[in-house]
């Protein structure tokens, strides 16, 4: 018998949970403290936002919301590694990536507040909106990458799925497409250990999820998803490879969903409390703060100032969201087609007539 193929999956970590640098080779970003401080600030802002969004839902001011608690390093790491010209294809909780790219907090709230205008967000206009049908965003990203390739652009598409999403056909078909067409893309698996109530081990008996990329012939690695420096470095390298026309990379980022799946979920039904408590010691924000403090780049006073600033910013976003009003009845019809069929126009007129001429909603349309 001869071995015709073999593979290994590397695991990348730079920052230990105690905020200490490990490894022989220090990436340049590890010494760029101005940048790391701004990243830390965005991580804290994202968590402040997330906490507020959950509170808004609990008080009836927001619909079901998917929390990103504990995902701040991986999400913001993706955002910081990407350039504006790249295309981001998220699932539905990558707010950190999106904030980095210019999406506004009020827009995220609009979306979960039941308003389509939320997906007409700020930031790069070519980015995909949130994608609820699991893993379908992966083939969209492959299509976007194909468009870039056909046009000879030095750009790339980045998709995100969870550990659950890595079981789906679209993720595997996107890997295959990226391989067959040598597409400029990065397929991220944000493995937070739980797909609602189903644990990682029930998705696959494979030792890693990253190795699914190997089946498609793609370089595939695992990174510590609670380590911003590792995520950023891995995604940056994968993007560089994509820009150079060398094709796609699969990156599995290991993190932990510290929250319920969404506000409609109660994880205490299926997940032991001590597992969550244990996971907290690995969480990304604490780790980054320790690193900055260990290097005399951060202190209690800066922390307190930051918390105040973040609260203020989030409250402003909430005010903006709460004052958005309804999109209006006409808006249900106006974006169905560029040229509205006359049958639909008739339905629109009927619906508008039901509203009456003094409708409050109309004025907000």
């Amino acid at each position: 018998m001869t071995t015709v193929a073999s593979f290994n999956i590397d695991y990348l970590q730079y920052l230990t949970p105690n905020g200490e640098l490990v490894g022989d080779k220090k990436p340049p970003i590890a010494g760029d403290f101005d940048k790391l401080k701004s990243i830390y600030e965005l991580m804290v802002l994202t968590r402040t936002f997330d906490t507020k969004a959950v509170a808004l839902q609990r008080t009836g001011k927001l619909g079901t919301y998917a929390s990103c608690l504990g995902h701040e390093a991986v999400h913001i790491g993706i955002g910081a590694a990407m350039s504006e010209k790249d295309v981001f294809a998220p699932m539905y909780r990558e707010y950190g990536t999106q904030f980095y790219r210019g999406v506004k907090m009020s827009e995220v709230l609009n979306y979960w507040g039941g308003d389509e205008r939320g997906s007409n967000f700020s930031g790069p206009q070519h980015d995909f909106p949130w994608c609820v049908p699991i893993a379908t965003q992966c083939t969209h990203a492959a299509g976007a990458a194909m468009a870039m390739k056909l046009r000879g652009a030095k750009r790339a598409a980045v998709s995100v799925v969870g550990d659950g999403g890595s079981s789906k056909g679209d993720f595997l078909e996107a890997i295959n497409a990226a391989s067959a067409f040598t597409l400029p893309m990065v397929l991220m698996i944000v493995n937070n250990q739980w797909a609602i109530s189903v644990p990682r081990k029930k998705q696959s008996s494979g030792r890693t999820l990253a190795q699914k990329g190997v089946a498609g012939g793609l370089p595939s690695i695992q990174v510590d998803g609670n380590d911003y420096i590792a995520v950023y470095t891995a995604v940056r390298a994968a993007l560089k490879r994509a820009y150079e026309g060398k094709g796609a990379t699969v990156i599995e980022a290991i993190t932990y969903r510290l929250s319920d799946h969404t506000t409609a979920d109660d994880a205490s039904r299926y997940r032991p409390d001590d597992e969550v408590e244990n996971a907290r010691q690995f969480e990304p924000i604490k780790r980054m703060r320790k690193y900055l403090m260990n290097n005399k780049q951060w202190n209690e006073q800066l922390e307190n100032q930051l918390i105040e600033t973040c609260k203020k910013e989030v409250n402003e976003a909430v005010d903006e969201y709460l004052s958005a009003g309804n999109p209006g009845v006409a808006s249900m019809f106006d974006y169905m087609f560029e040229d509205m069929p006359h049958t639909l126009e008739a339905q629109k007129q009927y619906a508008l007539a039901l509203e009456g001429s003094d409708s409050e909603e109309k004025s907000n349309g």
């Binding site: 295309v87 997906s119 007409n120 083939t139 497409a177």
Partner: protein, 326 residues
């Protein structure tokens, strides 16, 4: 001017658009050097290269998903489902994304894509190669569902579909791919979507159909003419959104209507037309609306497919029923 078949007209339209719009790309299984299993893309890969006419891995969801992604980024993909029976892995992308991208992003991203699929029975094909499930797509808001029934309309409607800023499901009645030849001028003139075409004028009864059933419907109209009955024949062409005005106007003139479709009867395009006639045209009708359709059964394998499909005789029987009502 060349005399071409329906499938050749399909090729002509794609050839024209590939030549005139650099954003147009074709993708699918076997669409490249092989030219498609029905030769609908014959010669196009050789002419435009494999960057414009792309053979894909055998993965229909991927084809549709990539078409969604490509179209949001400014390309105009024409994706082929090799047979309509294989379109179902694409449905998630068609329904959850292509149909709603414009609406859910308030017009920020759009999906100007075409999904082409040969459909319908009558060619002695294997299982899953003969169904007519256009109503599945006609039910989905945000989609256009277009079905040609002649070479000229195949050329003009496909041009319009490719140029449409919104997604179009373009279903090609493969039983009549080679039925008739027509002179088609490759002039880039499109046939507008969202409208029905009156292809034969008449006074006594309106026959409404689309796709391959046009063949039997026209044969029925010829036989009726021999009996002194003047039938108006309408090609629905765009089955969603439906141009009821043209159908209702015709029925206002003739007072009688028979709808002919190959698809199963329940919750079908003919149901929608009949319901609209009951609403818009009841007082114009001199007789009940009759439907000649496939049965509500699984499309049989080819030994029995002719028994499933509406025939000229079944159409004539229905027409005679509506003519008998005075």
């Amino acid at each position: 001017m060349a005399k071409v078949t329906l499938v050749e007209a399909v090729t002509m339209a794609m050839d024209h658009e590939l030549g005139h719009d650099k954003d147009v790309v074709i993708m699918g299984e076997d669409v490249g050097i092989n030219g498609g299993v029905f030769r609908a893309t014959k010669g196009l890969a050789q002419k435009y290269g494999d960057d414009r006419v792309i053979d894909t891995p055998l993965a229909e969801a991927m084809i549709a998903g990539m078409a969604v992604g490509m179209s949001t980024q400014g390309l105009k993909p024409i994706a082929e489902a090799q047979f309509m029976g294989f379109i179902y892995p694409m449905v998630e992308h068609i329904v959850c994304h292509a149909a709603r991208m414009r609406n859910r992003t308030r017009g920020r991203l759009t999906c100007p894509l075409v999904i082409r699929a040969p459909y319908g029975g009558g060619i002695h094909a294997p299982e899953h190669h003969s169904e007519s499930t256009e109503a599945l797509f006609a039910h989905i808001p945000g989609l256009r569902v277009v079905i040609p029934s002649s070479p000229t309309r195949a050329y003009g409607l496909l041009l319009a579909a490719i140029r449409s800023p919104d997604p179009v499901i373009f279903l090609e009645p493969k039983r009549i791919y080679h039925w008739s030849k027509e002179e088609v001028d490759d002039d880039g003139e499109e046939y507008p979507l969202d409208m029905c075409y009156v292809i034969r004028e008449g006074e006594d009864v309106t026959l409404v159909t689309w796709g391959a059933m046009m063949k039997e419907t026209l044969e029925a109209a010829d036989k009726l003419a021999e009996q002194g009955v003047s039938a108006e024949v309408i090609d629905v062409a765009t089955v969603s959104p439906l141009d009821m005005d043209t159908i209702a106007e015709s029925v206002a003139k003739t007072g009688r209507c028979v709808i002919v479709q190959e698809a199963a009867r329940h919750c079908s395009v003919s149901s929608e037309i009949a319901a609209n006639l009951a609403d818009q045209g009841l007082y114009d009708l001199n007789a009940p609306v009759k439907r000649v359709t496939g049965y509500d059964v699984i499309m049989p394998l080819f030994k029995m497919e002719k028994k499933y499909m509406p025939t000229t005789d079944r159409i004539l029987k229905a027409v005679n029923q509506v003519l008998e009502v005075s």
